[in-house]
Amino acid sequence: MSAADENTISKIIGKFETELLQDWLGALLTSSLRRYTESEREVTQQCENFLRGLRVATATGPAQDIESREWDEVRHLLAEISKTRVHQGFSSIDTANFVFSLKQPLFSKLRIELADRPQVLADETWAISTLLDKLGLFTIEVFQKSREHVILRQQQELLELSTPVVQLWKNVLALPLIGTLDSARTQVVMESLLQKIVETGASIAIIDITGVPTVDTLVAQHLLKTVAAARLMGADCIISGIRPQIAQTIVHLGVNLEDVITKATLADAFVIALKRTGSTISYPTTTN
């Protein structure tokens, strides 16, 4: 493609900037599946900036290589828009549409401008189409990456949130487990439990698995590892909150929990723990 042709895009954008903007905005707002929560002015601002960036980039650089330095500004702009839309809860379709919906207004202007030169028109249409496709795909990629980032962060937060170790009594700790136990979580659970044992000098830890939806051989193995590690530190473990179905599964799977004290409820486990630590709780005698 010759240099003169490349500039056609840029010239057309320059010539019809206001009209293009209006048509584009119209297409954008009607095609959107989701209502724009951001004000229309903001969208207009984004469109204006994008058009300007596109004009500058097509005027100076090779039109097809959006990785080049001339396109830095456009890419940066698109990345910014993509990231904000992730946080605003847009779908990927809507985000990509931001770029794709520019095609139609741009093509109609091209058709008017190049009506007398069908060959050039076809070439230009193809060039713009490819270019906008690339930009659209770039937008989706950024969108996807931002989403993955959010998911990763949430996973991390979940990992930290879901493993509290609480002190029930002097020398008695409780570890209410909620959610599935995988290797990564077991590691975190084990570390926080052992750390707490050192801090509080506890001699009994109650692991409550009421919130664990299923116990398979792997989860059981992880539980037993935690129990063994606590024992090495000099603390006994009681596993409580075993639901009837889970008891059945454990036996059917042939998991050996016989070396561990198990109780149906946390309350039962607490009673045993109190007895072991030599503490008692009694109801106050009524004095009336």
Binding site: E191, L194, V198, G201, A228, A229, L232, M233, G234
Partner: protein, 119 residues
């Protein structure tokens, strides 16, 4: 040659490991400890590993073996003060030290001897 001191308290032997354990040191300790149990007629051994922050499978097995040897010589072993990281490592290595008693610190270890092992 480095040796780890073995202190006698009544019928107990107290071993505090305060240096990095290497394999030869561990073997020497095993020799010394078994001879001292016989010589002093000890009924209990307290091994304090609170300053040990790295273990490998050899040291882990050696602790287990020492406890087993002591038991044959009619002395109970209590390992005290294990660090969380060490405990996790041993479990991951598959060394659960099943015949060994454990306690959080030396004080608790002594209490364990007083109560359950009735010395």
């Amino acid at each position: 040659m480095d040796r780890i001191p073995i202190l006698r308290i009544g019928r107990l032997l107290l071993v505090t490991i305060q240096v990095d354990m290497h394999d030869q040191l561990a073997m020497n300790l095993q020799d010394d400890l078994t001879s001292r149990i016989v010589k002093d007629g000890a009924k209990g051994v307290l091994i304090d590993i609170s300053t040990l922050d790295i273990v490998d499978s050899f040291i882990g097995r050696m602790i287990g073996n020492t406890a087993a040897m002591a038991r044959i010589l009619d002395a109970q072993t209590v390992v005290v003060g294990m660090q969380p990281a060490v405990a996790i490592t041993l479990v991951e290595l598959g060394l659960r030290l099943d015949g060994v008693h454990t306690a959080l610190n030396v004080e608790r270890g002594m209490a364990l001897f007083d109560q359950t092992l009735s010395l």
